[in-house]
Protein backbone atom coordinates (compact mmCIF):
# COMPACT_ATOMS: atom_id res chain seq x y z
CA UNK A 1 0.00 0.00 0.00
CA UNK A 2 2.76 2.38 0.92
CA UNK A 3 4.62 2.13 -2.35
CA UNK A 4 1.50 2.96 -4.31
CA UNK A 5 0.79 5.94 -2.13
CA UNK A 6 4.36 7.24 -2.42
CA UNK A 7 4.31 6.90 -6.19
CA UNK A 8 1.05 8.78 -6.48
CA UNK A 9 2.46 11.46 -4.23
CA UNK A 10 5.56 11.80 -6.35
CA UNK A 11 3.48 11.97 -9.49
CA UNK A 12 1.46 14.84 -8.09
CA UNK A 13 4.65 16.63 -7.16
CA UNK A 14 6.16 16.07 -10.58
CA UNK A 15 3.03 17.58 -12.13
CA UNK A 16 3.63 20.74 -10.19
CA UNK A 17 7.28 20.98 -11.02
CA UNK A 18 7.13 20.22 -14.75
CA UNK A 19 8.00 23.34 -16.67
CA UNK A 20 5.47 23.86 -19.44
CA UNK A 21 5.40 27.63 -19.54
CA UNK A 22 7.16 27.87 -22.90
CA UNK A 23 4.60 25.63 -24.61
CA UNK A 24 1.34 26.67 -26.11
CA UNK A 25 -1.80 25.49 -24.42
CA UNK A 26 -2.55 23.12 -27.32
CA UNK A 27 0.83 21.48 -26.91
CA UNK A 28 0.28 21.30 -23.21
CA UNK A 29 -3.06 19.58 -23.68
CA UNK A 30 -1.72 17.15 -26.29
CA UNK A 31 1.17 16.17 -24.06
CA UNK A 32 -1.18 15.82 -21.12
CA UNK A 33 -3.41 13.44 -23.09
CA UNK A 34 -0.44 11.44 -24.32
CA UNK A 35 1.01 11.22 -20.86
CA UNK A 36 -2.22 10.00 -19.31
CA UNK A 37 -2.94 7.24 -21.79
CA UNK A 38 0.18 5.19 -22.35
CA UNK A 39 -0.63 1.95 -24.14
CA UNK A 40 2.11 -0.58 -23.67
CA UNK A 41 2.69 -3.31 -26.22
CA UNK A 42 2.17 -6.70 -24.62
CA UNK A 43 5.53 -8.04 -25.72
CA UNK A 44 8.35 -9.45 -23.65
CA UNK A 45 11.81 -10.03 -25.04
CA UNK A 46 13.67 -11.52 -22.13
CA UNK A 47 13.50 -12.51 -18.49
CA UNK A 48 12.24 -9.04 -17.58
CA UNK A 49 8.84 -9.80 -19.03
CA UNK A 50 8.07 -11.64 -15.81
CA UNK A 51 7.99 -8.31 -13.93
CA UNK A 52 5.39 -6.84 -16.22
CA UNK A 53 2.30 -8.86 -15.18
CA UNK A 54 2.53 -7.73 -11.53
CA UNK A 55 3.08 -4.16 -12.71
CA UNK A 56 -0.10 -4.17 -14.76
CA UNK A 57 -2.29 -6.23 -12.47
CA UNK A 58 -3.85 -5.44 -9.14
CA UNK A 59 -0.77 -5.60 -6.94
CA UNK A 60 0.92 -2.53 -8.45
CA UNK A 61 -1.91 -1.51 -10.74
CA UNK A 62 -0.26 0.66 -13.37
CA UNK A 63 -3.63 1.48 -14.88
CA UNK A 64 -4.35 4.06 -12.19
CA UNK A 65 -1.54 6.08 -13.80
CA UNK A 66 -3.04 5.65 -17.26
CA UNK A 67 -0.66 2.86 -18.28
CA UNK A 68 -2.24 -0.21 -19.78
CA UNK A 69 -1.63 -2.97 -22.29
CA UNK A 70 -2.23 -2.92 -26.02
CA UNK A 71 -2.71 -5.93 -28.22
CA UNK A 72 -0.92 -4.94 -31.41
CA UNK A 73 1.98 -2.66 -32.31
CA UNK A 74 -0.29 -0.38 -34.29
CA UNK A 75 -2.29 0.45 -31.18
CA UNK A 76 0.66 0.83 -28.84
CA UNK A 77 2.58 3.89 -27.70
CA UNK A 78 5.34 2.23 -25.74
CA UNK A 79 7.42 -0.85 -26.42
CA UNK A 80 9.25 -2.33 -23.47
CA UNK A 81 12.48 -4.13 -24.28
CA UNK A 82 12.64 -6.19 -21.14
CA UNK A 83 16.02 -7.70 -20.46
CA UNK A 84 18.53 -9.34 -22.74
CA UNK A 85 17.92 -9.02 -26.42
CA UNK A 86 19.33 -11.59 -28.82
CA UNK A 87 19.98 -10.89 -32.49
CA UNK A 88 16.97 -12.96 -33.43
CA UNK A 89 14.75 -10.94 -31.09
CA UNK A 90 16.27 -7.68 -32.29
CA UNK A 91 14.94 -8.37 -35.78
CA UNK A 92 11.41 -8.69 -34.38
CA UNK A 93 11.85 -5.64 -32.19
CA UNK A 94 12.91 -3.51 -35.15
CA UNK A 95 9.99 -4.79 -37.22
CA UNK A 96 7.58 -4.14 -34.37
CA UNK A 97 9.01 -0.72 -33.65
CA UNK A 98 8.70 0.35 -37.25
CA UNK A 99 5.07 -0.80 -37.29
CA UNK A 100 4.13 1.41 -34.35
CA UNK A 101 2.53 4.76 -35.02
CA UNK A 102 4.03 8.07 -33.93
CA UNK A 103 4.41 9.19 -31.22
CA UNK A 104 6.12 6.09 -29.89
CA UNK A 105 8.45 5.56 -26.99
CA UNK A 106 10.93 2.88 -25.97
CA UNK A 107 11.46 1.80 -22.40
CA UNK A 108 14.48 -0.44 -21.81
CA UNK A 109 14.54 -2.62 -18.72
CA UNK A 110 17.49 -4.25 -17.06
CA UNK A 111 21.25 -3.95 -17.20
CA UNK A 112 21.40 -6.12 -20.32
CA UNK A 113 19.96 -3.34 -22.45
CA UNK A 114 22.29 -0.79 -20.86
CA UNK A 115 25.62 -2.53 -21.32
CA UNK A 116 25.09 -6.22 -22.03
CA UNK A 117 24.69 -7.09 -18.34
CA UNK A 118 25.65 -10.63 -17.52
CA UNK A 119 25.61 -11.44 -21.25
CA UNK A 120 28.42 -8.98 -21.97
CA UNK A 121 30.51 -11.65 -23.73
CA UNK A 122 27.68 -13.61 -25.30
CA UNK A 123 27.88 -14.38 -29.02
CA UNK A 124 24.18 -13.88 -29.50
CA UNK A 125 23.01 -10.76 -27.66
CA UNK A 126 23.36 -7.07 -28.37
CA UNK A 127 25.08 -4.91 -25.77
CA UNK A 128 23.70 -1.38 -26.13
CA UNK A 129 20.11 -1.10 -27.26
CA UNK A 130 20.39 2.56 -28.17
CA UNK A 131 22.66 1.68 -31.10
CA UNK A 132 19.79 -0.10 -32.86
CA UNK A 133 16.62 1.69 -31.84
CA UNK A 134 16.31 4.97 -29.94
CA UNK A 135 15.64 4.61 -26.23
CA UNK A 136 13.64 7.09 -24.17
CA UNK A 137 14.18 5.70 -20.73
CA UNK A 138 16.44 3.09 -19.22
CA UNK A 139 15.45 1.31 -16.03
CA UNK A 140 18.52 -0.37 -14.63
CA UNK A 141 18.60 -3.37 -12.35
CA UNK A 142 18.74 -7.10 -12.74
CA UNK A 143 15.76 -7.42 -12.73
CA UNK A 144 14.09 -4.10 -11.90
CA UNK A 145 11.20 -4.56 -9.52
CA UNK A 146 7.72 -3.34 -10.49
CA UNK A 147 8.32 -0.25 -8.36
CA UNK A 148 11.31 0.62 -10.53
CA UNK A 149 9.31 0.01 -13.69
CA UNK A 150 6.60 2.34 -12.41
CA UNK A 151 9.23 4.94 -11.60
CA UNK A 152 10.58 4.60 -15.11
CA UNK A 153 7.09 5.13 -16.47
CA UNK A 154 6.63 8.19 -14.28
CA UNK A 155 9.92 9.64 -15.51
CA UNK A 156 8.77 8.95 -19.07
CA UNK A 157 5.44 10.65 -18.35
CA UNK A 158 7.29 13.66 -17.06
CA UNK A 159 9.40 13.83 -20.21
CA UNK A 160 6.29 13.50 -22.34
CA UNK A 161 4.61 16.31 -20.42
CA UNK A 162 7.61 18.54 -21.02
CA UNK A 163 7.72 17.51 -24.68
CA UNK A 164 11.24 16.12 -24.33
CA UNK A 165 10.55 12.49 -25.20
CA UNK A 166 11.07 12.50 -28.95
CA UNK A 167 12.91 9.31 -29.76
CA UNK A 168 10.86 8.60 -32.87
CA UNK A 169 12.05 11.87 -34.33
CA UNK A 170 15.62 10.87 -33.56
CA UNK A 171 15.03 7.58 -35.37
CA UNK A 172 13.75 9.36 -38.44
CA UNK A 173 16.53 11.94 -38.46
CA UNK A 174 19.39 9.51 -37.85
CA UNK A 175 17.98 6.55 -39.72
CA UNK A 176 21.29 5.88 -41.57
CA UNK A 177 23.13 5.56 -38.27
CA UNK A 178 20.64 3.08 -36.85
CA UNK A 179 20.37 1.14 -40.09
CA UNK A 180 24.16 0.85 -40.30
CA UNK A 181 24.35 -0.58 -36.78
CA UNK A 182 21.46 -2.95 -37.44
CA UNK A 183 23.10 -4.26 -40.59
CA UNK A 184 26.37 -4.73 -38.76
CA UNK A 185 24.93 -7.43 -36.53
CA UNK A 186 21.98 -8.70 -38.57
CA UNK A 187 23.33 -8.66 -42.11
CA UNK A 188 21.59 -7.14 -45.11
CA UNK A 189 18.13 -8.54 -44.39
CA UNK A 190 17.37 -6.74 -41.18
CA UNK A 191 13.67 -7.40 -40.92
CA UNK A 192 12.47 -11.00 -40.86
CA UNK A 193 10.74 -12.14 -44.03
CA UNK A 194 6.97 -12.39 -43.95
CA UNK A 195 6.48 -15.96 -45.00
CA UNK A 196 4.83 -19.01 -43.53
CA UNK A 197 7.44 -21.55 -44.57
CA UNK A 198 8.14 -22.52 -41.00
CA UNK A 199 4.46 -23.26 -40.51
CA UNK A 200 3.25 -24.64 -43.78
CA UNK A 201 6.04 -26.86 -44.99
CA UNK A 202 8.09 -29.67 -43.66
CA UNK A 203 11.35 -28.32 -42.41
CA UNK A 204 9.88 -25.90 -39.92
CA UNK A 205 9.53 -26.25 -36.22
Amino acid sequence: MEEGFLIQQRQMESDLSSDTSHKSSVDFLMNWFRKRSIFVLAYGTGCGAIEMPPTFTSRYDAERLGIRGAATPRQADVIIVSGYCSYKTLRRIIRTYEQMANPKYVLALGSCTVNGGMYWDSYNTIKKLEDYIPVDMYVSGCMPRPESILEGFLALQKEIAEGKASSWQRYEENYEFYRKNQEKVLGRNVAPAYDADWYLYDGGL
Binding site: K88, N115, G116, S122, Y123, K127, K128, K184, N189, G203
Partner: protein, 206 residues
Protein backbone atom coordinates in the same frame (compact mmCIF):
# COMPACT_ATOMS: atom_id res chain seq x y z
CA UNK B 1 24.11 -58.48 -20.71
CA UNK B 2 27.33 -56.67 -19.83
CA UNK B 3 29.49 -59.63 -20.81
CA UNK B 4 27.59 -60.00 -24.05
CA UNK B 5 28.20 -56.38 -24.95
CA UNK B 6 31.83 -56.76 -23.93
CA UNK B 7 32.36 -59.82 -26.07
CA UNK B 8 30.44 -58.63 -29.07
CA UNK B 9 31.72 -55.08 -29.23
CA UNK B 10 35.22 -55.58 -27.90
CA UNK B 11 35.02 -52.74 -25.43
CA UNK B 12 37.37 -52.73 -22.46
CA UNK B 13 34.99 -52.19 -19.63
CA UNK B 14 31.46 -51.09 -19.02
CA UNK B 15 31.76 -48.28 -16.57
CA UNK B 16 29.09 -48.54 -13.85
CA UNK B 17 28.63 -45.00 -12.66
CA UNK B 18 25.66 -45.54 -10.37
CA UNK B 19 23.12 -48.25 -9.73
CA UNK B 20 20.99 -46.80 -12.47
CA UNK B 21 23.66 -45.48 -14.83
CA UNK B 22 26.30 -47.22 -16.92
CA UNK B 23 28.51 -45.99 -19.69
CA UNK B 24 30.12 -47.76 -22.59
CA UNK B 25 32.42 -46.43 -25.29
CA UNK B 26 32.38 -48.05 -28.72
CA UNK B 27 33.84 -47.27 -32.13
CA UNK B 28 31.86 -45.07 -34.46
CA UNK B 29 30.66 -47.67 -36.96
CA UNK B 30 29.22 -50.01 -34.31
CA UNK B 31 27.23 -47.45 -32.32
CA UNK B 32 23.95 -48.11 -34.05
CA UNK B 33 24.33 -51.86 -33.76
CA UNK B 34 24.73 -51.46 -30.01
CA UNK B 35 21.84 -49.03 -29.71
CA UNK B 36 19.67 -51.36 -31.75
CA UNK B 37 20.59 -54.25 -29.48
CA UNK B 38 19.79 -52.21 -26.38
CA UNK B 39 16.45 -51.13 -27.80
CA UNK B 40 15.32 -54.48 -29.16
CA UNK B 41 16.59 -56.92 -26.55
CA UNK B 42 16.96 -55.00 -23.31
CA UNK B 43 14.08 -52.57 -23.49
CA UNK B 44 15.98 -49.26 -23.58
CA UNK B 45 13.14 -47.63 -25.40
CA UNK B 46 13.65 -43.95 -24.58
CA UNK B 47 16.24 -41.67 -26.08
CA UNK B 48 16.83 -38.99 -23.43
CA UNK B 49 19.42 -36.90 -25.13
CA UNK B 50 22.23 -36.73 -27.62
CA UNK B 51 25.08 -34.74 -26.14
CA UNK B 52 28.40 -33.62 -27.47
CA UNK B 53 31.66 -32.63 -25.80
CA UNK B 54 34.46 -30.90 -27.66
CA UNK B 55 37.86 -32.44 -26.87
CA UNK B 56 39.94 -30.02 -28.88
CA UNK B 57 43.28 -31.28 -27.49
CA UNK B 58 42.58 -34.87 -28.57
CA UNK B 59 40.99 -33.67 -31.80
CA UNK B 60 37.63 -35.34 -31.49
CA UNK B 61 34.04 -34.83 -30.43
CA UNK B 62 32.59 -37.23 -27.87
CA UNK B 63 28.98 -37.93 -28.80
CA UNK B 64 26.84 -39.61 -26.16
CA UNK B 65 23.46 -41.21 -26.66
CA UNK B 66 21.52 -41.60 -23.42
CA UNK B 67 19.00 -44.45 -23.42
CA UNK B 68 16.58 -45.28 -20.63
CA UNK B 69 14.48 -48.37 -19.97
CA UNK B 70 10.75 -48.30 -20.17
CA UNK B 71 10.38 -48.44 -16.37
CA UNK B 72 12.98 -45.65 -15.96
CA UNK B 73 15.10 -47.97 -13.82
CA UNK B 74 18.32 -47.83 -15.77
CA UNK B 75 20.11 -45.46 -18.14
CA UNK B 76 22.81 -46.45 -20.59
CA UNK B 77 25.27 -43.91 -21.98
CA UNK B 78 26.62 -45.02 -25.33
CA UNK B 79 29.58 -42.90 -26.24
CA UNK B 80 31.56 -42.64 -29.44
CA UNK B 81 34.33 -40.43 -30.72
CA UNK B 82 34.26 -38.71 -34.09
CA UNK B 83 36.97 -36.58 -35.65
CA UNK B 84 36.66 -32.82 -35.37
CA UNK B 85 37.59 -32.26 -39.00
CA UNK B 86 34.59 -33.10 -41.17
CA UNK B 87 32.63 -34.25 -38.15
CA UNK B 88 30.06 -36.67 -39.40
CA UNK B 89 27.95 -39.46 -37.96
CA UNK B 90 24.84 -41.20 -39.27
CA UNK B 91 21.48 -39.97 -38.13
CA UNK B 92 19.52 -41.89 -35.50
CA UNK B 93 16.16 -40.80 -36.87
CA UNK B 94 15.44 -44.27 -38.29
CA UNK B 95 15.29 -45.67 -34.75
CA UNK B 96 14.13 -42.59 -32.87
CA UNK B 97 12.24 -39.90 -34.78
CA UNK B 98 12.73 -37.51 -31.87
CA UNK B 99 16.48 -37.55 -32.52
CA UNK B 100 15.85 -35.13 -35.35
CA UNK B 101 15.68 -32.00 -33.23
CA UNK B 102 18.60 -33.05 -31.03
CA UNK B 103 20.75 -33.57 -34.11
CA UNK B 104 19.58 -30.26 -35.46
CA UNK B 105 20.81 -28.64 -32.27
CA UNK B 106 24.22 -30.35 -32.48
CA UNK B 107 24.49 -29.44 -36.14
CA UNK B 108 23.90 -25.81 -35.31
CA UNK B 109 26.12 -25.56 -32.26
CA UNK B 110 29.04 -27.82 -33.32
CA UNK B 111 28.72 -28.09 -37.08
CA UNK B 112 28.37 -31.87 -37.01
CA UNK B 113 26.82 -33.39 -40.12
CA UNK B 114 24.17 -36.10 -39.75
CA UNK B 115 23.58 -37.90 -43.07
CA UNK B 116 20.07 -39.32 -43.05
CA UNK B 117 18.55 -36.41 -41.15
CA UNK B 118 16.60 -34.47 -43.71
CA UNK B 119 15.93 -31.44 -41.59
CA UNK B 120 19.24 -29.93 -40.53
CA UNK B 121 18.10 -26.31 -40.73
CA UNK B 122 18.90 -23.71 -38.13
CA UNK B 123 17.15 -24.10 -34.80
CA UNK B 124 17.71 -21.08 -32.56
CA UNK B 125 20.30 -19.02 -34.39
CA UNK B 126 19.48 -16.98 -37.48
CA UNK B 127 21.72 -16.44 -40.50
CA UNK B 128 24.77 -17.63 -38.63
CA UNK B 129 27.84 -17.49 -40.87
CA UNK B 130 30.74 -17.78 -38.40
CA UNK B 131 32.22 -20.86 -36.73
CA UNK B 132 29.54 -22.81 -34.85
CA UNK B 133 29.47 -21.07 -31.46
CA UNK B 134 30.01 -24.02 -29.12
CA UNK B 135 33.14 -25.24 -30.89
CA UNK B 136 36.05 -24.37 -28.69
CA UNK B 137 38.04 -22.68 -31.40
CA UNK B 138 35.32 -20.05 -31.62
CA UNK B 139 36.63 -17.05 -29.68
CA UNK B 140 33.54 -15.47 -28.16
CA UNK B 141 35.31 -12.45 -26.72
CA UNK B 142 37.02 -11.57 -30.00
CA UNK B 143 33.68 -11.96 -31.80
CA UNK B 144 31.95 -9.65 -29.32
CA UNK B 145 34.73 -7.06 -29.41
CA UNK B 146 34.61 -7.02 -33.18
CA UNK B 147 30.85 -6.40 -33.36
CA UNK B 148 30.20 -4.26 -30.29
CA UNK B 149 31.71 -1.43 -28.36
CA UNK B 150 30.96 -1.10 -24.70
CA UNK B 151 29.65 1.87 -22.83
CA UNK B 152 32.22 3.58 -20.65
CA UNK B 153 31.48 3.65 -16.97
CA UNK B 154 30.32 6.70 -15.09
CA UNK B 155 32.88 9.32 -14.11
CA UNK B 156 32.30 8.60 -10.45
CA UNK B 157 32.35 4.83 -10.71
CA UNK B 158 34.58 3.01 -8.26
CA UNK B 159 36.60 -0.16 -8.43
CA UNK B 160 34.24 -2.76 -6.97
CA UNK B 161 36.90 -4.94 -5.38
CA UNK B 162 38.77 -2.06 -3.74
CA UNK B 163 35.51 -0.60 -2.54
CA UNK B 164 34.37 -3.90 -1.02
CA UNK B 165 37.72 -4.24 0.73
CA UNK B 166 37.44 -0.73 2.13
CA UNK B 167 33.88 -1.30 3.33
CA UNK B 168 34.85 -4.58 4.95
CA UNK B 169 37.75 -2.92 6.76
CA UNK B 170 35.41 -0.16 7.94
CA UNK B 171 32.90 -2.70 9.20
CA UNK B 172 35.60 -4.64 10.99
CA UNK B 173 36.96 -1.49 12.63
CA UNK B 174 33.47 -0.51 13.77
CA UNK B 175 32.91 -3.98 15.18
CA UNK B 176 36.21 -3.88 17.05
CA UNK B 177 35.45 -0.45 18.43
CA UNK B 178 32.04 -1.65 19.60
CA UNK B 179 33.61 -4.70 21.23
CA UNK B 180 36.18 -2.48 22.97
CA UNK B 181 33.45 -0.20 24.23
CA UNK B 182 31.48 -3.17 25.51
CA UNK B 183 34.55 -4.56 27.23
CA UNK B 184 35.21 -1.17 28.88
CA UNK B 185 31.61 -0.95 30.01
CA UNK B 186 31.63 -4.42 31.56
CA UNK B 187 34.92 -3.61 33.27
CA UNK B 188 33.44 -0.46 34.69
CA UNK B 189 30.38 -2.36 35.80
CA UNK B 190 32.49 -5.00 37.45
CA UNK B 191 34.55 -2.30 39.12
CA UNK B 192 31.40 -0.60 40.27
CA UNK B 193 29.76 -3.80 41.44
CA UNK B 194 32.75 -5.20 43.31
CA UNK B 195 32.92 -2.64 46.08
CA UNK B 196 29.19 -2.79 46.54
CA UNK B 197 29.40 -6.55 46.84
CA UNK B 198 32.17 -6.11 49.36
CA UNK B 199 30.01 -3.64 51.28
CA UNK B 200 27.11 -6.05 51.14
CA UNK B 201 29.27 -8.82 52.43
CA UNK B 202 30.63 -6.60 55.11
CA UNK B 203 27.08 -5.50 55.89
CA UNK B 204 26.03 -9.06 56.08
CA UNK B 205 28.81 -9.80 58.40
CA UNK B 206 27.65 -7.11 60.76
Amino acid sequence: MNTLIRNRFGTDEIEVKRDDLSKVTVVKYRVFELIHLLVEQYGYTTLNAITCADWIEEGHFAITYMLTTRARRHTFMVQTMIGREEAKIDSLTMLFPQAEIMERDLHEMYGIDFPGNGNLVELSLENWVHTPPLRREFDTLAFVNELHDFREGRDDNLDVKAEMKRLRALKKAAKEAAAKKEALKTEEKEEASQPSAAQKESGHGK
